[in-house]
Symmetry: C2
Subunit: 218 residues, 2 copies
């Protein structure tokens, strides 16, 4: 996919804005598990994803993690340009969950076009709103939903994303997605196994009963 | 305070934009405890606060609450105009915590100016970023910090806001701010009292030892 197709508002930009972007973008390919952004110190620029999968997460002082959202093809990663948005004051980590290709629009170009163009600024607005909504959804889950529901929901989402019922994932990794601890997740997964919802083996969680997992989420 | 002084970007707007706003704004005064916004069904418009205090909170299906952030003089309330931002998809409640005066810019005027003006759109961006950051802070608190720290932090913030060490607040109310339950908060406050951090009496929490409460937050 070409940049023009990946960047959703391309056709709405002026010729001058297009030229500024074209002459400054850099294309990059990173391997699975690469760190893309580590808190507010980094300022790479606006990333436009061509293919692959990124994961945005929050990291506690003690090293615990919780997944905030994922980014896919045609998504825009804003937090790697957070230095140009002084009110966006929080630390976020972004890693590649799969091999990922993206373009980078440098921060100074983003800043310049954002100041001139209502189209561009409204697109940033929309992106921010979408991410904000995802984090609010998560916040509500964490506040009001019990861990069994969140775990069932996570397993179902993963099986859609990976297109398999045989998830290759460790209990530690699941804990990092859900902001929980390995021991807690292992205990809950064992309970799921007793209930014949899943089958556990080394490094694998197999989903046995999608219908009942879905019922659990509701 | 006049509208021109309350609305921070007034001087950066064009004459035409100023005229559109001036000819459409409505001034309103609401009493303490008034509901300003109840989820995505309402679409009052953009509120510009002249004086008073608003509280934005999330409400669970079971009626539990957690305070997301507060808005004060010169702040802008965006969620009362969320209908014009299709990506902003979550339910939020907004109530007046004190008698509050504000201006309303109607949603259609906000939408029109946002489409034209990069200045206006960037201001919405900045507002969204600031709210997003507040919610992320809260999310991190909820995920990584224990309730005793969050309670200590809340009591200290309230005493700054109300300019007194004698807080007139019920345990139920505190629970609603922190997304907790009355029984849980009462138990923790009793523990704080044993530790001589606070003194409890009917409807009042008196802060006795600010220094140790602050140490607890860290």
């Amino acid at each position: 996919m070409r940049f023009e197709e990946s960047f959703k508002i391309w056709n709405q930009l002026s010729e001058d804005e297009k030229r500024q972007i074209e002459s400054s973008i850099v294309q990059r390919r990173v391997k699975e598990h690469s760190m893309i952004h580590q808190g507010s110190l980094d300022c790479t620029g606006l990333l436009v994803i061509q293919s692959g999968q990124l994961r945005a997460y929050s990291l506690s002082e003690e090293g615990r993690e919780i997944t905030l959202y994922r980014l896919f093809e045609q998504d825009v990663c804003l937090f790697s340009a957070s230095c140009i948005m002084p009110s966006l004051q929080f630390e976020m980590m972004i890693e590649a969950e799969k091999e990922t290709e993206f373009w980078i629009i440098p921060p100074d170009v983003v800043e310049r076009i954002m100041k001139q163009s209502a189209v561009f600024s409204n697109y940033i607005n929309e992106t921010l709103s979408a991410r904000f909504s995802e984090v609010m959804w998560l916040m509500e889950q964490v506040m009001w939903k019990s861990l069994d529901k969140r775990l069932a929901n996570f397993l179902l989402e993963e099986s859609v994303l990976e297109q398999t019922a045989q998830l290759k994932i460790t209990h530690e990794k699941i804990a990092n997605h859900l902001g929980s601890q390995r021991e807690v997740i292992s205990r809950m997964l064992k309970y799921f196994q007793q209930e014949e919802l899943v089958q556990l083996s080394r490094g694998t969680v197999e989903l046995l009963d999608m219908d009942r997992l879905e019922m659990l989420c509701e």
